[in-house]
């Protein structure tokens, strides 16, 4: 089973071309940081409430992405809260994304090839060679969104990450999205870190939109 960081890095890749889907880079970094924090929470290394985030167990998990995030949170110490932790980890998220892509290639989920992004800088492409993980995530999210099934905590995290990344359009039809709007709102609130990810991504998108409209 993939961890949340690999899962969201995979979902942020376009199905056919292996390029990153349209999301501001800083927003993608917030989502990846959120994935790491939520994984640490489910592994009982950190705990949160509405005001604080605390490292409850600094012992390494054995996963170098999570352990880097955990060590960084531990170093930050003191009175942490969720937004500050999220932004603190987001600055390291590009490194996590690269590690996650490498793992996905090693697991033969992705293929690594040279590509060209836009017309400026050469970059790598990661065509998907095994889409079972993506299909499983879609099936799981459809199940909890289109029925009254209570999600388990891992489902909630996936939903928060996919919703914050504006990827639910890849999971549900436009009609289904409209029908489930209230339920999406309810379920994606169930994780406090997920709420912070949603707010931070919305702020970034709003800033980018405003800046773009100023240029135009």
């Amino acid at each position: 089973m993939l961890g949340f960081v690999e899962e969201i890095v995979l979902l942020l890749l376009d199905d056919s071309e292996g390029q990153v889907v349209e999301l501001p880079v800083s927003a993608a970094h917030i989502v990846i940081a959120g994935a790491a924090l939520m994984e640490l929470a489910l592994r009982n290394r950190i705990d949160t409430d509405v005001r604080t985030l605390i490292v409850v167990n600094p012992a390494p998990t054995g996963d170098d992405i999570l352990d880097d995030a955990l060590a960084h949170l531990h170093e930050l110490g003191g009175d942490l809260n969720i937004p500050a932790s999220l932004y603190g980890i987001a600055v390291r998220a590009e490194g996590y994304r690269q590690k996650a892509l490498k793992r996905l290639v090693e697991h033969r989920v992705l293929r690594d090839q040279d590509g060209r992004f836009l017309w400026v800088s050469p970059t790598r492409q990661y065509p998907i060679i095994d889409d079972r993980e993506q299909q499983e995530v879609r099936a799981r999210l459809r199940q909890i969104l289109l029925t009254d099934e209570i999600p388990d905590p891992r489902d909630v995290v996936l939903l928060c990450l996919v919703e914050a990344s504006h990827l639910l359009g890849h999971v549900l039809s436009p009609e289904e999205l409209k029908q489930t709007e209230t339920r999406i709102g309810q379920l994606s609130r169930l994780d406090l870190i997920g709420q912070a990810v949603h707010r931070a991504v919305a702020d970034i998108r709003s800033t980018v939109k405003h800046a773009t409209s100023q240029v135009e």
Binding site: A41, D47, V56, I150, P151, Q186, L187, L190, D191, Q195
Partner: protein, 111 residues
């Protein structure tokens, strides 16, 4: 955290006291798994003496709600203190659970 249980007719009343946080969550999850062992659960969880609940504690309750739903049972919470009610409200857990003012109402809600 303290955990007490009492059978009232066909309803199991569970009383939680103290703090339900990351240090208490694994034990609480295990204890709930024990009480949800078999049959169709009708569960009233009394939180009157619960001083604090963190995200780890909320996850325990989410797992309980899921297991009860899978077993086609019913669960209700009661006696939420202002602190606990605040985190339920902000996290949206008040939309997942039937929340009742006291144990008698919670028992009636799950019968």
């Amino acid at each position: 955290m303290e955990f007490a249980q009492e059978q009232t007719g066909d309803v199991l009343v569970v009383r939680l006291a103290g703090r339900l946080d990351s240090s208490a969550a694994p034990g609480a999850e295990q204890t709930f798994a024990g009480v949800l062992g078999g049959g169709t659960p009708h569960l009233a969880i009394d939180l009157t003496q619960l001083e604090y609940i963190s995200s780890a504690g909320l996850r325990v309750l989410l797992i309980v709600a899921k297991k009860v739903q899978q077993a086609q049972g019913k669960v209700a919470l009661c006696g939420l203190t202002p602190n606990v009610r605040e985190i339920f409200s902000i996290s949206g857990f008040d939309a997942i659970f039937s929340i009742q003012p006291d144990a008698a109402a919670a028992i009636a809600a799950v019968r």
